[in-house]
Amino acid sequence: MDINALLPTDMNGWAHLGIVGSLSGLAVLTAIGVVAFNSPIRSALSLVLNFFTLAFIYFSLGAELLGITQIVVYTGAIMVLFLFVIMLLNLSADDPSQYKRDAKPVFAGIIGLVVFGLLATAVLAPLKAINQISAPDRNEFNPIGWGSPQAVGKTLFTGYVWPFEMISLLLLVGIVGSILLARRKVTS
């Protein structure tokens, strides 16, 4: 296996690889932090960092609208909801002495690593050949590009109108369901 085929050939490619590589390392580290931190609030803050890093990885993939959406929806809305619930429930940190009595973390780690290795050899190895970006970048022939709001919006409202409307219905059902769940029972 030739590692040189994976490496970039020009200065621009090296810069891209360095930025994406450091972002990837940060993403994996914060993902480990979500699982490894004992207190839920630290896990949540680690997840916020992870989502921010993912948004920048989306930017590096050229999906500008989705990166912004990631910041707004995930770190702005969903994580605030998580932190709000953690504060409301007043969740304390897990007692670490509980973890010592069974071997679940060890089993989870071993099984995860084994499946990761199997998938990495089975899936990643054939995909090494694909190094070229196929999606159209923004240029003079294609002014709206690939991940810009214009391109995404145009596709969303032409070819994907039906799933878009279904998503709106799903969100409506979600709103009604969460209100029903959170409603305090009126006892007479």
Binding site: V123, Y160, S178
Partner: protein
């Protein structure tokens, strides 16, 4: 491309391990979010590097992955709203929130 996919795969397995290991239901939900985001990153990577030629609409050919990411985000938002509502409802009934001790639904 391999770098993006490796990051996505690591995040997915860390999230899966977290769902198995952690006991706090809120943290379990966070790990589910982590897995959903890993899948989103995979969708975007494939949409960028190896887009599907199967869609006949000419202007939609490159966009299928991004559309799927948008829908996954919407579904994740609805899921978090409902799931946290369920956790709040459970917490109102019993003060101790621990996934291993919630067995009232098992047969």
């Amino acid at each position: 491309m391999v770098l993006y996919l490796a990051v996505s795969m690591s995040m997915f397995f860390i999230g899966a391990a977290g769902v198995v290991v952690r006991r706090n239901p809120v943290v379990v939900f966070m790990c589910i979010e982590l897995m959903l985001n890993a899948v989103n990153l995979t969708f975007l990577t494939f949409a960028r590097y190896a887009p599907s030629p199967l869609i006949e609409r000419a202007d939609s050919t490159w966009m299928a992955g991004q559309m799927m990411v948008i829908f996954v985000m919407a579904v994740a938002a609805a899921e978090v709203a409902v799931g946290l509502g369920i956790i709040m409802a459970i917490y109102r009934v019993r003060a101790n929130v621990d996934v291993d001790e919630m067995s009232s639904m098992s047969g």
